[in-house]
């Protein structure tokens, strides 16, 4: 499996995300400790680690849902500072998918998808609708367009959430445990969409416990523990020859059953 699609995908030399010496505190709690991470265009990165290790916080710093306290984060040449304009600029280029889907329950599936193109990109309504339908077809639920999120299954909702993010034509997609809130039988339909996305060359950062997905799609696995990146390696190396003691322990636990 480690020789699957993941390896054949091209990774360009262009740096998409560069984090240097990033530190963050929640009150007294030091969540991110001197994090350095460079992501090239077209890379598919899986971030793994025990809960509370700062994985989610790390990717939430990339679109400034969480402000970082120290260090620098540069996305596609734009440095994230407290400057609101730059934050909005980055958010337009970075799509995000949440564990709890966070679809807007008072809007139809189609309206969920057209909201940002209409208000942020100022796209004409007809064009926004066509765009939304294109992506809803890609996640294979165009027939649900006029329904409300509450009428869909968890897997369908998460696919809508992916389509909604794609409607902004992002350069990077962030996934924050996209399958953790799903019933087991729905995990595959969401992972399938993510695999396709990866094959199309999308730059992806994905916090997940789906190690099968990591092996198949990722070109790099980043392991975090206690707010630090303790190990990063291509999946074949990461799973077969982990170097760090914490990584070994984690893998032993997660792969035990």
């Amino acid at each position: 499996m480690s020789d699957g699609n993941g390896k054949r995908l091209k990774v360009s030399d262009k740096v998409m995300i560069e984090m240097k010496g990033v530190n963050k505190w929640f009150g007294d709690f030091h969540v991110l400790k001197d994090v350095d991470l460079t992501v090239h265009e077209g890379e598919r990165i899986v971030i793994a680690g025990p809960s509370g290790s700062g994985k989610s916080t790390l990717i939430r710093c990339i679109n400034h849902l969480e402000p970082h306290d120290e260090g620098s984060i540069v996305i596609d040449g734009i440095e994230l500072t407290e400057d609101l304009k730059r934050i909005d600029e980055v958010r337009r280029e970075v799509g995000m998918v949440f564990q709890q889907f966070n679809l807007f329950p008072h809007m139809t599936v189609l309206e969920n998808c057209t909201l940002a193109p209409l208000w942020v990109r100022k796209m004409p309504e007809k064009q926004a609708r066509e765009l939304a339908m294109k992506f809803l077809e890609r996640v294979r639920i165009p027939e649900q367009a006029s329904k409300y999120p509450g009428q869909l299954s968890g897997g369908q909702q998460q696919r809508v959430a992916i389509a909604r993010a794609l409607c902004m034509n992002p350069k990077v997609m962030l996934f924050d445990e996209p399958t953790s809130a799903l019933d087991p039988e729905m995990i595959k339909e969401v992972l399938d969409v993510m695999v396709e996305l990866a094959q199309e060359g999308m730059t992806m950062l994905c916090v997940t416990h789906e190690m099968g997905f990591a092996r198949e799609v990722a070109n790099r696995v980043v392991f975090m523990d206690d707010g630090r990146i303790v190990e990063q390696a291509p999946p074949e190396e990461f799973f077969s020859a982990p170097k760090n003691a914490r990584t070994k322990e984690f893998l032993a636990q997660i792969l035990a059953h």
């Binding site: 849902l65 909005d88 970075v94 966070n102 942020v120 509450g150």
Partner: protein, 369 residues
């Protein structure tokens, strides 16, 4: 029974029961229940017949003078109402200018009713008409002092006109102000948050009567010489600020019910703070608190009667003034007047309440999960 009242559904099985069996099960199922049933029946027998007798069976429907209502045992005196109906609606507004009030009412209905019917086109135009154009037109029409419109000072306004002016101004101003205050109170900016907290807690902490007294009596003492805003206007501002503080807390309750993920998802898509609030958070939050919002509106509508104490004659104040008219000194005058006033207030408040129920049911289909 207990389960039914919790779920709010009536039991379908009771439909198939004969009245006798139903009564036995629900009214006489135990000694305690039987006693309660009998006591309630006695209380109803004591109260309902006299009320019906006064308002309907013995009521005087026709006539033009007080003599019509002087017969022994005569009930509600409608001639008193009809003879003074202009005062109840327009106060001391000059009779030859009353068409201006009627036109204002008609225009008001013309812009408010389409706004209340869901699904009509041109929402935005309608909102602009209602919130910006209509108030300006109404001020010009009612206050006058324009070519062809002689001035009518607000001291001559009264009755239902004043009640509606105060209530509608309060309602229209308190919702947007309340939303802003609620957002401000949850703001991450300390200065804004502090200001909103102080503002809300100040206005919530003082009685409306105090606010009206301050606006009417104290404020002119503090303002510079020559700057003397209209008494009604001062009260309007007082009422609007007062009710916006209440509204703010209702809206804040709604905001707290919306998971943080909704706001985060909107911001992650690139929406600005105001877009995220306006498109995603507030539509959901306000929907959650429709009952609370309408509750505040209804409370405000009834509180307008307090303007009486600063010498403004709303419907109730005008009613009291007409009761003092020696031409209409009749024994049942006060009862007649207050029942009529209560009826008018009830119609408006019940209307608001029914409309809110209708909107809740209509919006319910889109509720989450």
């Amino acid at each position: 029974m207990a389960m039914e009242s919790i779920t709010g559904r009536s039991a379908s099985r009771s439909k198939t029961l004969t009245p006798l069996v139903w009564a036995q099960r629900n009214l006489f199922s135990s000694i305690g229940n039987t006693m309660l049933t009998l006591a309630s029946a006695y209380l109803l027998w004591l109260t309902i017949p006299p009320v019906l007798d006064f308002t309907i069976f013995s009521a005087v429907w026709t006539g033009t003078t007080r003599e019509a209502c002087l017969a022994p045992g005569a009930g509600m005196c409608w001639p008193f109402i009809w003879a003074n109906i202009d005062q109840f609606i327009y106060g001391r507004y000059p009779p030859e200018e009353i068409w201006r009030v009627n036109l204002t009412f008609a225009l008001g209905i013309a812009v408010i009713v389409p706004m209340l019917i869901p699904g009509l086109p041109a929402r935005r135009l309608n909102l602009v008409l209602l919130l910006i154009v209509y108030p300006l037109v109404a001020i010009v029409l009612l206050a006058g002092d324009r070519p062809g419109l002689p001035p009518v000072p607000t001291s001559e306004w009264g009755g239902l006109l004043v009640t509606l002016v105060v209530a509608i101004t309060g309602i229209v101003a308190s919702l947007p102000l309340g939303v802003l205050l609620a957002l401000g109170r949850r703001s991450e900016m300390p200065a804004i948050r502090m200001f909103c907290i102080i503002f809300i807690e100040f206005w919530r902490g003082v009685p409306l009567i105090t606010v009206l007294f301050m606006a009417s009596v104290m404020l002119p003492l503090f303002l510079p010489e020559g700057m003397n805003p209209d008494n009604l206007l001062r009260c309007l501002v007082g009422v609007a600020l007062f009710s916006s503080a209440y509204m703010a807390e209702v809206v804040r309750g709604g905001l707290q019910a919306i998971p943080a993920g909704q706001y985060e998802a909107a911001r992650a898509l690139g929406l600005t703070y105001w877009q995220a609030m306006g498109q995603v958070v507030l539509p959901q939050a306000l929907r959650h608190v429709i009952p609370g919002i309408v509750n505040t509106f209804i409370g405000l509508f009834k509180d307008t009667t307090l303007v009486l104490i600063v010498g403004i004659f709303d419907l109730l104040g005008q009613m009291r003034a007409q009761l003092a008219d020696p031409n209409w000194t009749i024994p049942q005058g006060a009862l007649t007047g207050y029942i009529f006033a209560a009826l008018v207030f009830w119609v408006f408040c019940f209307g608001m309440s029914q409309y809110s129920n209708f909107m809740e049911r209509r919006l319910d289909t889109t509720r989450e999960r």
